[in-house]
Symmetry: C3
Subunit: 399 residues, 3 copies
Amino acid sequence: MSTIKPYLDQLQGLDFSGMYENDFLHTWDKTTDELRAMYAVADALRSLRERNISTRIFQTGLAVSNFRDNSTRTRFSFASGTNMLGLQLQDLDESKSQIAHGETVRETATMISFMADVIGIRDDKFIGAGDAYMKEVSESVAQSYADGILDHRPTLVSLQSDSDHPTQSSADLLYLLNEFGGLDALRGKKVAVTWAYSPSYGKPLSCPQSLITLLPRFGMNVTLAHPEGYDLMPDLVAKAGEYASQTGATFTQTNSMAEAVEGADIVIPKSWASYAAMERRTKLYSAGDAAGIDALEKELLAQNATHQDWHCTRELMEKTAKGMDTVYMHPLPADIEGVSCEHGEVTNEVFDAHRDGLYKEASYKPYAVAAMIFLQKVKDPVATLAALEEAAAPRWYQA
Amino acid sequence: MSTIKPYLDQLQGLDFSGMYENDFLHTWDKTTDELRAMYAVADALRSLRERNISTRIFQTGLAVSNFRDNSTRTRFSFASGTNMLGLQLQDLDESKSQIAHGETVRETATMISFMADVIGIRDDKFIGAGDAYMKEVSESVAQSYADGILDHRPTLVSLQSDSDHPTQSSADLLYLLNEFGGLDALRGKKVAVTWAYSPSYGKPLSCPQSLITLLPRFGMNVTLAHPEGYDLMPDLVAKAGEYASQTGATFTQTNSMAEAVEGADIVIPKSWASYAAMERRTKLYSAGDAAGIDALEKELLAQNATHQDWHCTRELMEKTAKGMDTVYMHPLPADIEGVSCEHGEVTNEVFDAHRDGLYKEASYKPYAVAAMIFLQKVKDPVATLAALEEAAAPRWYQA
Amino acid sequence: MSTIKPYLDQLQGLDFSGMYENDFLHTWDKTTDELRAMYAVADALRSLRERNISTRIFQTGLAVSNFRDNSTRTRFSFASGTNMLGLQLQDLDESKSQIAHGETVRETATMISFMADVIGIRDDKFIGAGDAYMKEVSESVAQSYADGILDHRPTLVSLQSDSDHPTQSSADLLYLLNEFGGLDALRGKKVAVTWAYSPSYGKPLSCPQSLITLLPRFGMNVTLAHPEGYDLMPDLVAKAGEYASQTGATFTQTNSMAEAVEGADIVIPKSWASYAAMERRTKLYSAGDAAGIDALEKELLAQNATHQDWHCTRELMEKTAKGMDTVYMHPLPADIEGVSCEHGEVTNEVFDAHRDGLYKEASYKPYAVAAMIFLQKVKDPVATLAALEEAAAPRWYQA
């Protein structure tokens, strides 16, 4: 695309004023217009960058990251998305900090925020904990801003909680809309969001939950499949159904992987732990019950092992709309049979055939991060994007 | 403030030429004019930033940090203060480095300095060690500059040693002068710098020492209070008295917390270890005497425990000049009764009533850091600040 | 130097077009013209910086580092060299990442590269491993670029592998050509690259190998000396001989340190492990044979200990062309007798007399890094350097 004008035209017709000075914690906090605006800004930023036009809007300023769980993809996406706006990344490494036992969240949040324009948090390990922590950080900095302690309010971006993984699902949707030719082209597409076997356990619920609560909002027909006992959070499953009914799409559930992928245009098989198991685990961690945690791990791994037939094979792909050519997605890293494990989520044959698509899917995450921040920090995104394109300052100068 | 002109006027009347290309290791190395200049520059930088005017003076350049003790507040203050000038932070993480046993300080200091404009060091654990280390780093880079190895001399900022904590006390003074309406308004104010009980031990002496050696220089009447056996370094206590006599202020000592806060305009209760205990600890660490260290810890905790009545309560605050409205300060994190401990430095009631002030106090630290660096790296600070305001380049661009 | 024009004139006569969009993994991958170009660009960048002219060519962009071994000098050189071009450093800390067992190099390489302009890797511990890893990362990002996943190809810079240490040897040559007055002045100079005793073991082969394969290309007569059993990789020793014969220089080997330094203009004594020992070690690590590793360490330390007379003393220096004034080099940190060890590579007397030279040697590494990246990312380096000098934007602004 040689100009971002089409994206600016899209933005003109949308009401996204609520995003300015707000956070991005869950896609369900946002209107459909707001999500559309975010996709348009992400694509505009990508177009500018690919044409070597600087998107730097901050001369100085910090982006603070707080990873309470390991990360490569999201860490680099946050580093990249904030860097393309001109922010310097500063990691709050809790192991190197002086965060005393009992120091309040409000205090730490305020102390790191005097020059922070955005705070990105990953906290996905325990049911309820991640969302509660992010909410508390958000309220803390809002309060400190209201009290005149902060001269501005840093806005938050969730880099994954236990309920949602909005930068991932946004990257997924950006990939799909660019592959299929726009959001309208996604309407009516059949998507299988399905559990798959993994030799490890305790993978976050937030990945499948972020998909079933987002895709129906754009008219996609979603089938959620998992073995009995691998339920997601009930309120989010209910939300998926509500969104589907609002757009005239369907949201169905099944305990058969084969049934879910039958005729599907898009398949997204990935392992997760059950909500019930994660709740038990959260309680055991709270109680510091190491023996209980070990016992639960053994129990869950044994339970997983009875479902090794839930994996994505050529045979399974043949049931989909376009066979091996059907879109296969995964947030990565995947458990690939013969590569990272003996039995896993997907065979090497299927993974390898979809490698390019999977990597492209991932390539949208830095732009999703940048677009969220752009909309939260820029009062008139259309004018600002237009001004950046007009100025055409080279990101990478060469005489 | 809609212009920095008043701060520039203040600077015009001061002699601070000695700060250029110098370090900031202790406030007592600086003249009162130099300190006044630093406060004026800090307030000017804050005014520029709050009006979205870029204070970036470095297009590229490194700020090297070396934290030999954990830190959140000071780490983020250094990251923020250096970022607002355009420097990129590079941490010297000694655990990831190849600093061999026996490698000289001069070598490491030179190796990290080829493109470093400033070096910030926290080394506060052992008596004498921090000051000696910083002095050696400073002399090393000066020598390497003199020898033509470095094309410039990176200047140092102490981020806390065992004797002084100049970025903290500077933030404290900036807070006070802004709260009371200028440095002149602080003259004659009564300040209680008092020990308080903590369930942990070994807290640095540098916090109270940085206060008693600074506040009397601006005419504040300081009372230092602690139980018997919790003495600070004798030469710094002597220095406090000398400064007081120079400005016509008083510096008194007492073993009664109640006496110290009687009629005080400002109270600063905080725990610390005694100088004698810290010296014993330093020797035990040098000797690698683990059993001795354990025994000392037990002894000191037991000693602390006999002074649980040294805490800041509503009852105590009622003895001060304005009761609960009297300014209460702490460098944070505090040991708050009922929040982070059962018995501690301050009750939750007092802490909570002063939360906003405490956080504002902390908000000055990034500006103190930036002002120190600005004065050390800029030959004509008045002209440069004026030029920044005149240019009015937006820190955060929005069309 | 008050202008970079002489360096630009040098560049005009050289063919270095092959460096653009290429990697820098070994000096032997490069033509002599390309190496000359790199030295000229390094000196030009140094001249610009020393005259406070900004060399920032990137408004935004990431430099990714991946240190699989500890580092201070090279870490700060990479931080400095990338910062002076405007890139933000982002470290791939494998301990904090989600790099799962079995995740392919291609996947990780792609995931960190969406906005990476350059990737720097240190992987020097195991024979064959470092080169293989860097080659795989390079091919991975090239493939992802070819497949349309990346919008550009990040280029690589080796920060030391098991075979070569190109940023170190480039810094060494920059130091030498600046000390001796140009590359032509180095022709015919006698260099002793000699093993020296260290109380530790397993030091990389890549340091001596990087020297013997580089210096003969510029007509220097190299003598390689080591005790029996401390052989380097045979193919690189052979390469050294070939380069020497191409330029009319000599490359000789001896088992006598004294013979090697006889009449030498430059001496470079440093410890290393033998190729054969490193191969055994690599196999033991692959097999996870902890007992075998311990036994090998004991054997090698005992073998080292029989060669404590291989050290650089005043007596040895007296045999060289200019005695104590002869150029003594070391990549640092050195094992200095009486400073970091009882017996080691060099006496304190010799080290101390050459300290300034050693530190200057090190000071070229950030410029070597920056020059490699500049030539890899800038299509017309001459025009771009000229434009930077012409613009003369201050790196460090002062009104």
